[in-house]
Amino acid sequence: MNLFEQQASNRRKSRWLLVGFVLFFAWLGFGGDYIAWELTRADTTAAPGTAVATSPSGPAGYRHTLPWFGIMLTLVAVGTVTYIRRTGASKVLWSTGARELDIARTDSERQLVNVVEEMAIAAGVPRPKIYIIDDADPNAFVTGTEPLKSHLAVTTGLIDMLDRDELQGVIGHEMGHVKNLDMQLMTLVAGLAGAIALMADGTGRLLRSGARVGGGRKLGGGSKKGGNPLILVILVVWLLSWLLAPLITRMLSMAISRKREYLADAMGAQFTRNPMSLASALEKIERAGAPTRAIKGGVAHLCIADPLERRVSEREGKLADLFATHPPMALRVSRLKAMAYRTMKAEGNFTPV
């Protein structure tokens, strides 16, 4: 897959992600309206006298023709998408406690700024804004919701541990994510997953408190009637959608990033013309081992190395494809070394180690 195909595919996926998000919420909203509508109709036809007598609001007052729940949720989803597109990057940075590096003061900060500028030139993308995260574990990520307008964050551990060439390799990898538009898609996924997690927490709390007040009565009415089987199926799927949404978005964010890391490694090596520097940087990052505490799960798939140091990241296979955000470090390093040996061989100064 070449750069342009990758860019086109990322653009397409970003668009579908946003459309899919809105459609999903429309389904939750209008689906709920439809179910409520059907259930209340069952009440009016089957229990004409008793229901009206016992319940003060009554089925007639209960029944709504305007699907206000669907309209509301769809509007919320559209609002969320707009909000994430506008502020997604700053929210991601905020969640990691990154501070912007506006003026480089120390030698190592100046070197970082220089290396970033070099790699931006090599990639032919605008210079990213640079942020620093105070964390001793080496890690780095880029984020941004607009193509090519990027924010690069590195931990203090990364700056301290790597030498100039290795730093260049890591930044080159990140510029690869920027150039092939991975960054945009991955930031959107992080934002939407965060929004869904928030909403799931909120509705969970709402449902629990709702169950105390009036849920029992509603459920009783439904089961008493039995209703038509289609409604039951829709009801089950609808409930499952509510419950599984957070899990689905988490899996999406994992599936989305594994193959991209290999590609970004290759692009980083292409920009620096030095695969070995990235390989040795990755080895150092791997050896550092300690989890990056400043970076939480929701942002993990943006990073150069899994900040949570999960075991599953060290395996290949179906399970890892589902649950790991990063490919095994050993495989990435060996691919980069193979690249380096091929170049050395081509240039004629190959000496087996």
Binding site: D107, S108, Q111, G124
Partner: protein, 192 residues
């Protein structure tokens, strides 16, 4: 029959427009890539007097190395003016000379630990290393873009549009000077 003819004409016109626009976009990218080199060259030209000033007091016995750098810089400044994608060879040659002279100077500086220890020289070294790298990476980008542009101009059927789009081959920025390749590799590492 008439409709078929119109469809064919429309298809040809559509192809012509997209090929023409593709070439124009590539030409602009090539120009832009060259501008990137230009920006970095200017920066390098501005940094050199500072470096020379910082080191000359301590190393008046290395007069030749210093004057070589100054001369090469002045030639390069002249060559960099009015550069365009069809004539980059002269600028490239002048810059290669400058790189060579600068490399020798930095190698000499490396031999004087006292000099290196002054904060100012250390900072200038990092700035110069970075600028050298930026020139290199900008050149890499320019050559890649120019090659794509040239290939598009020559490939069939885009070559039929080349004349209309006023596309001319872009010259690659080559390192011709053997002296530059032979420059001793100067390693700058931050003291951890």
């Amino acid at each position: 029959m008439m409709i078929l003819f119109l469809i064919v004409v429309a298809a040809i016109v559509a192809w012509f427009i997209s090929a023409y626009n593709g070439l124009v976009a590539l030409r602009n990218q090539t120009w832009n890539a060259l501008k990137q080199i230009d920006v970095q060259l200017k920066r390098r030209h501005d940094l050199i007097p500072n470096l020379v000033q910082a080191v000359q007091g301590a190393m008046d016995f290395e007069k030749d190395t210093l004057s070589a750098v100054i001369n090469a810089r002045n030639t390069a400044v002249k060559a960099a003016a009015g550069m365009d994608p069809s004539h980059v060879a002269a600028t490239a040659a002048a810059e290669a000379q400058l790189s060579g002279a600068l490399g020798r100077l930095l190698a000499v500086v490396e031999a004087y630990p006292d000099l290196k220890a002054t904060a100012n020289v250390g900072q200038l070294q990092e700035e110069l290393t970075s600028t050298e790298n930026k020139v290199g990476f900008a050149r890499q980008l320019y050559n890649d873009t120019a090659t794509t542009y040239n290939t598009k101009q020559q490939q069939f059927p885009t070559n039929l549009v080349t004349g209309f789009a006023k596309a001319t081959p872009a010259e690659l920025w080559e390192i011709e000077d053997v002296a530059e390749r032979a420059v001793p590799k100067v390693e700058f590492r931050r003291n951890a």
